[in-house]
């Protein structure tokens, strides 16, 4: 499996090349910012009709990660849906797909700024969740420890022998871990943006996603 093991707040975690976080000791897989239903939300608001395939693509990738890891617990770390209406008008096939993925698993939806409040899908709906010494919430809060969050869609850009390479990335320091966005229709915010460089400590590291995840010092 293309993953990279690292230790965060005493937990032995794996960053997967897909952008998912795998915690083998807890049989737990965590993904953030799926933004399901983004295309339908844009169209609903009078915007262009984007290719309506992003839900099936996001869910297919999630399905692959679940099969490979055999995770028993799944945490979707907020902005799981592009808005509440998008969650409620989800295509029947996508709904079925989610139900299939949920079968036999503990499934936790953490709410995000795009999807506050519960949606009519199985699983627990929580604002945040503590488990095994870690704290899962959508947006990082100042002063917390052992916190796993999403929201910022971090990406990292490196210049290697004159070549600029940008990839979605995990960011972590001794207090917090921020996951990259997992959804197909998502962009990224550079780690050098002041929002992220203010949030992350001086020892922050980044793990770049891709065919082979790579760890590096977080570019600021």
């Amino acid at each position: 499996m293309n993953s990279l093991e690292f230790v965060f707040s005493g937990a032995r975690l794996h960053a997967l090349g897909s952008g998912a976080l795998w915690w083998p000791d807890q049989d737990l897989l965590c993904v953030s910012d799926l933004h399901l239903g983004k295309a339908s939300r844009v169209a609903r608001r009078g915007g262009p009709a984007l290719p309506p395939y992003e839900n099936r693509d996001t869910l297919a990738r999630l399905s692959t990660d679940l099969n490979r890891t055999g995770a028993r617990t799944v945490i979707c770390l907020g902005d799981n849906f592009d808005d509440i209406a998008a969650a409620e008008t989800l295509d029947e096939n996508d709904r079925q797909h989610i139900t299939t993925l949920q079968a036999g698993r503990v499934w936790i939806w953490i709410e995000g700024n795009h999807d506050p409040g519960p949606v009519s899908l199985g699983g627990a709906h929580l604002a945040e969740w503590r488990h095994g010494g870690l704290q899962f919430r959508h947006i990082a809060s100042r002063g917390s420890r052992g916190e796993v969050s999403g929201h910022y869609h971090p990406k990292v850009r490196l210049l290697a022998r004159g070549r600029a390479i940008a990839r979605p990335a995990f960011l972590f320091d001794n207090r917090r871990l921020i996951l990259p966005a997992y959804g197909t229709y998502t962009g990224g915010l550079r780690s050098s943006d002041t929002v992220l460089s203010d949030l992350m400590g001086p020892d922050a590291r980044a793990i770049l996603t891709g065919p082979q995840p790579r760890i590096t010092a977080m570019p600021r």
């Binding site: 009078g46 915007g47 009709a49 290719p51 992003e54 290697a160 197909t184």
Partner: protein, 777 residues
């Protein structure tokens, strides 16, 4: 022109400065003298500046004739209140651009505003006919013709190789179009600039020619110094300024400079205050600069027709020859300049016929029609097929575009609830959400700028705007870096709210701002002339140094020929290089680069990237190519094209342009772009998604079609294959050859994302960890 005033369409072809714009207006002034209510004549030009210029020039004759007429311009720069008033109370003569005209047709009150329009004058139609802006204009004219059945069309064109094609483009189908050819005047006086210093082997700066160029400026009243790219214009201006000991007044003008800066230069030019202007294609078109008596072209002209049109900028007195000098930037360009010069003297203009009107422009036109109000599909189809570029459009192709605008046209019908266009019970189609009209108008137009950021001097409350640089270039800067803009060196201080802030504290050698200005491919005719020249035993028409340089290439390797393909392989700077001399023009050489690197990736040769020029493709990688022969199986190149192209950067770039024009991607969504960019995602993701789930989607078809005739230009690769057959010469050298040297300095390198990138990433991430004192895990 007066004799033909009643003809439905007339095309006037005259050399630059033949007074043709005034000839185009004369019938309008005569008709207006008899009195007219409302809008009478619409003048369309590709340049905003031209509209303002014409307004000045037209005022004089109108006043002389004692005509109480209103003449106003309307462009992107016109104030909102003025625009609003123009819609309520239009002037007699409206001077505008294709985009502003298309926007006007999108309003519900368009029929009232355009009521009674008699004439439309399309200036610089030869330039518009080569672009999607022209296609959009012809669709707008089709709309206008429906609103104003009496509309007569006049096109004004510079010298072109195929006047009939422009006439078909202009006229409403099947109206006839008269072609009026003005006296072309005396032949231009073109020569190579004589310099004491020899041009370098490589490089595009032409710095060696600075003293000679300064001497020419001194000897003439006003000199226009044309460059092919904005970056080259910046470097040249910088060097010219450093050498300008007498302080001759010299300005710079190109599309990336701040508008106010450009207007100042234009005004100084009109007043005759400047002795020279360093410029790019931004001055290619029609503004009458008065006293220009010399045109200097720096760098190879790429295209004989464009060279002839540029030369026409000098000397607007009709019976005097225009004077021009060519300045090659390096030895290879000497050959190209001499070839172009010979072609210009022989009146051998080049040009490739353009294909049918592109469907992405049609999609936008359908959305514009919907903004104006409910429409009937049959009527719109009839109207569209009266436009020259869309005469052969099938109903099925039109319906596919209509379906795309309505539902996205996906195999998975997901948007029945959220259709953009819906059909009413009476059969007409209309926007489902009226708010969509505003979004469509904001994204109107076919000009594709790359993403740019504004550059300002750093001050407490926003300093002076200097111009724009590309976002990718801005991202490569770290505070303290310096670069050139508008001829001055500035120091990068930081990025604030998507504005690049700079100071004048320049203490380092500048990086050069990278601008993506259009790159033209050298025409087939010109390439053929160069290859014919290479076949000569010696070169009496070339300067001695260039003859010697070609001789050296012939001894060290060999010269490319018309019926053989030369490939050189050599190490340079820690990388392995492969240089393929196809002489197929920049775009086709680029495609060749994509096809070859793809094969190299498959065979484990770890290519890192390539760069293409008009005559060759240079590929570099980590590993030496010891046996290149499997890469050049021509049949395999041809067979695999479709699959190979699917995933590459050129296709994604083409997709991005077409998807933006067709309305799938919105560049403007209202409000300023925020620094929190995570909300937007790259158009590459849309392309990848369609490729995976809906590869036959309309936009994928359009992308393939566009790429094949544009950036891919596979036609010229096929022509090259037909020319060379299996006659391929592979030559291994221990260092770069004279002919390959210029490619090492070429900009526009295309990265190959493959195994080599993963290797680089591993190196660099480990290095950064170590540098930061963090453990390597």
């Amino acid at each position: 022109m007066i004799d033909r005033a009643q003809a439905p369409a007339t095309l006037l072809i005259a050399p630059t400065g033949g007074g043709k714009t005034m000839a185009g207006f004369l019938p309008s002034l005569i008709e207006l003298a008899d009195g007219h209510e409302g809008l009478h004549t619409i003048y369309v030009s590709p340049l905003k500046a031209l509209a303002a210029d014409i307004k000045r020039n037209l005022r004089g004759p109108a006043d002389e004739m004692g005509l109480p007429i209103r003449i106003e311009d309307r462009t992107g720069d016109t104030s909102p209140s003025q625009k609003k008033r123009q819609r309520v109370d239009p002037p007699h003569i409206l001077l505008t651009t294709p985009e502003s005209l298309a926007l006007l047709t999108s309003y519900e009150d368009a029929p009232r505003m355009f009521q009674g329009v008699q004439r439309v004058i399309v200036d610089e139609i030869h330039a518009l006919a080569d672009s999607k802006r022209g296609d959009q204009l012809m669709l707008a004219l089709a709309r206008l013709q429906t609103l104003c059945p009496d509309l007569r069309r006049v096109g004004l064109s510079a010298t072109v190789e195929d006047p009939d094609a422009i006439a078909r483009f202009l006229a409403r189908h099947p109206d006839p179009c008269d072609i009026v050819l003005a006296d072309p005047g005396p032949d231009p006086d073109i020569a190579m600039l004589q310099t004491t210093e020899k041009p370098p082997w490589a490089g595009g700066g032409a710095a060696y020619a600075i003293p000679a160029v300064l001497e020419q400026i001194r000897q003439h009243k006003t000199t226009l110094i044309f460059h092919n790219t904005r970056a080259q214009a910046e470097i040249f201006f910088h060097n010219l300024w450093l050498a300008n000991d007498e302080g001759l007044p010299i300005g710079i003008h190109h599309g990336s400079l701040d508008r106010q800066q450009r207007e100042r230069v234009e005004a100084a030019m009109v007043r005759g205050d400047l002795r020279a202007i360093v410029c790019t294609g931004s001055l290619d078109l029609g503004i009458d600069w008065g006293d220009v008596d010399l045109v200097i072209q720096i760098g190879a002209p790429k295209n004989v027709k464009r060279l002839v049109q540029r030369i026409g900028r000098a000397n607007h007195r009709y019976n005097a020859p225009s004077k021009a000098l060519l300045v090659p930037a390096n030895r290879f360009e000497v050959v190209e300049c001499v070839a172009a010069l010979e072609a210009a003297r022989e009146h051998d203009l080049d040009g490739e016929p353009r294909g049918p009107g592109p469907r992405d422009v049609l999609c936008q036109h359908i959305l514009i029609a919907a903004c104006a109000g409910p429409f009937d599909a049959d009527a719109l189809y009839a109207e569209v097929t009266s436009a020259g570029p869309y005469v052969d459009l099938s109903r099925a192709a039109f319906d596919a575009c209509l379906e795309f605008c309505a539902t996205g046209g996906y195999a998975l019908r997901a948007y029945d609830r959220w259709q953009r266009l819906q059909q009413r019970p009476d059969g007409l189609r209309q926007l489902r959400d009226p708010r969509a009209a505003q979004r469509i108008r904001m994204n109107l137009g076919t000009i594709q700028d790359s993403d740019t950021l504004k550059v300002r001097l750093k001050r407490n409350r926003g300093g002076k705007p200097l111009g724009e640089v590309e976002e990718a270039f801005a991202a490569s800067l770290t505070p303290g870096d310096t670069f050139l803009i508008g001829g001055q060196i500035v120091r990068y201080e930081g990025l604030r709210e998507m504005v690049v802030e700079v100071t004048r504290r320049a203490d380092k050698k500048p990086k050069v701002a990278t601008f993506s200005g259009t790159k033209f491919a050298t025409s087939t005719q010109l390439s053929e002339r160069i290859l014919r020249m290479f076949a000569q035993p010696d070169w009496p028409q070339l300067p001695e140094h260039t003859g010697e340089w070609l001789d050296l290439q012939r001894r060290m390797s060999r010269l490319p020929g018309r019926d053989r393909l030369l490939i050189e392989s050599f190490p340079n700077d820690g990388r392995e290089n492969l240089c393929v001399y196809g002489f197929a023009g920049r775009n086709a050489q680029q495609t060749l680069g994509l096809l070859l690197t793809k094969r190299m990736e498959e065979t484990g040769l770890a290519p890192l990237g390539f760069v293409a020029t008009d005559y060759a493709t240079l590929i570099w990688g980590l590993d030496a190519v010891t046996d290149p022969s499997p890469l050049f199986q021509i049949e395999a190149l041809r067979d695999g094209l479709d699959n190979w192209l699917a995933g590459n950067a050129v296709m994604k770039r083409t997709f991005r342009a077409s998807a933006t024009i067709a309305g799938l991607i919105e560049r403007n969504t209202g409000g300023q772009r925020k620094s929190g960019r995570q909300a937007t995602f790259s158009s590459d993701i849309l392309y990848d998604t369609l490729l995976k789930y809906d590869p036959d989607h309309l936009l994928m078809q359009i992308t393939r079609e566009e790429a094949m005739r544009g950036l891919v230009d596979f036609g010229r690769i096929e022509a090259m294959i037909a020319r060379i057959g299996d006659r391929i010469d592979l030559i291994r050298l221990d260092r770069v050859s004279p002919l390959a040297a210029p490619l090492l300095l070429e900009v526009g390198k295309v990265p190959v994302k493959g195994a080599a990138e993963e290797r680089l990433l591993a190196e660099e991430s480990a290095r950064l960890l170590q540098a930061a004192g963090l453990p390597v895990e």
